[in-house]
Amino acid sequence: MTAHANELAVDVRGLRKQYGDVTAVDGIDLGIRRGEVFGLLGPNGAGKSTTVEILQGNRTRDGGEVSVLGSDPATGTRAWRSRVGIVWQDESAPAELTVRETVRHFARYYPRPRDPEEVIGLVGLEAKAGSRIKALSGGQRRRLDVALGVIGDPDLLLLDEPTTGFDPAARRQFWDLIRLLSDEGTTILLTTHYLEEAEALADRLAVVAKGQVVAEGEPAALRERYGTEATVEWTEPDGVTRTERTDTPTRTVAELMRRFDGEIPGLRVVRPTLEDVYLRLTGQEDAR
């Protein structure tokens, strides 16, 4: 194997971006390995989209080093662009053309495109292939966006909030598509503010808040690392509900058993879900 096998598909060090007085990205580091699905998770305004746009080569940066497939996106050549697929946050396909015309036309831009009919099938738009884009529903347009993102058979696919506005069934369908592309070896970076999406798809994820990475790792490892503290809840004889946060919930329950001499009224032991961990990390705990 050549040296490229170990090279990161995306390598970001100390990325910074200012909009006037507002610091949107405040020193982000990311390392995405070839072939993995990486989730960038965070609330709206955390700096996810800005980061992805810089990786696409569509936004300038104010500081830091960025390498995407071995090149700096700021100076990306046509050959580099042909290897990076982009699914935008807002759709923008030509309304008067049909799905098939659009996908076929975009295929012409690339040196080694996928078969347009196969791609239309992949995103589940066979039945709409002959329809004008203006006649598609929102979810169908998003699927067309994905088709245009993968038509060039990219090595790296950048998806910015791809399932925003999807109904649950469409979201599941979309997840299957991402898994399929991943199984084919495409490296995928997706931003999302849906925790369950990151958990379902990502091999690894980074949680971003206020322009910084606050946690990074495999979803299960994140839960373990940040979620050891459990909450014990019970009802006192006077009817007041009490809670206690502890790293040793069993000991707390044992003490309560002694006090109540048997059954503990209203007992609940709650382990934090990944969502709790996420909300705590992004400083949104109060939002619950």
Binding site: H4, Y19, D90, F106
Partner: protein, 281 residues
Amino acid sequence: MTTTAVRAGAEAPAQRLPGAWGLGLRRGALEIKQFFRQRDQVVFTFAFPVVFLFLFASIFHDDVHGSGVTASQLYVPAMMASGIMSTSFQSLGISIAVERDEKVLRRLRGTPMPPSAYFLGKIWLVLFTGVVETAILLLVGTTLYGVDLPSDASRWFDFAWIFVLGLTGCALLGIAISSVPKSAKSASSVVVLPFLVLQFISGVYISIDTIPDWMLNVGALFPLKWLCQGLRGVFLPDSARVLEQAGSWEFGKVALVLAAWCVGGLVLCLLTFRWKTRRDG
């Protein structure tokens, strides 16, 4: 994930990227297809100068003193010039601003499409609609308003270069002005006002022998005045030269100014063209 499933990526052999000319042709075909699918746009684009020709040439039809032509005849080349500018300057100025606002341009920029293919596609669209528009006006002018087609080949040749240079210059100006409006909503106002003013001071609506000299001199800085003058030279008898500011058609100067606008317009486009709106950074 096993390493075998990971793509070779950087080791993939360098494949040839599709060429700009071929893609430009394909984009042109696609642009024309999209244009004709918006039926209301088609009807109004082509009808606008025809309706104005009909109005002006029917209201003003007297002989113009000592020129050997009628006012109606004067309006035929004038409306042709206006039609060429509306299919190029106005339609590109507005449509590109809308495409930028709707992020169509940004999406194209995210593909390996060469930027020149986009501009070539626009030029094919403008050439196509410009030829159709001019042909319609010529048909109306010759059948209803007594304009004769040029009889000698050299006048047809003049017509050809005036058309191509005028259309190209106006198209490039249209691409340049598309960067001015902040959003799609303001695009038509931003583009239509200067076009309307130019039509008044370049001899489209009002005969040039009635326009104050200083206004004509301002108009002379832009291509429309020269486009009008060149087309009058092609379609009117030489006796009408007395109406001109210089007393002649000045074909040499027409060529010079229009060519200068092609070069200047290109430079302006290269310096100012943006793929994103200002708020997209």
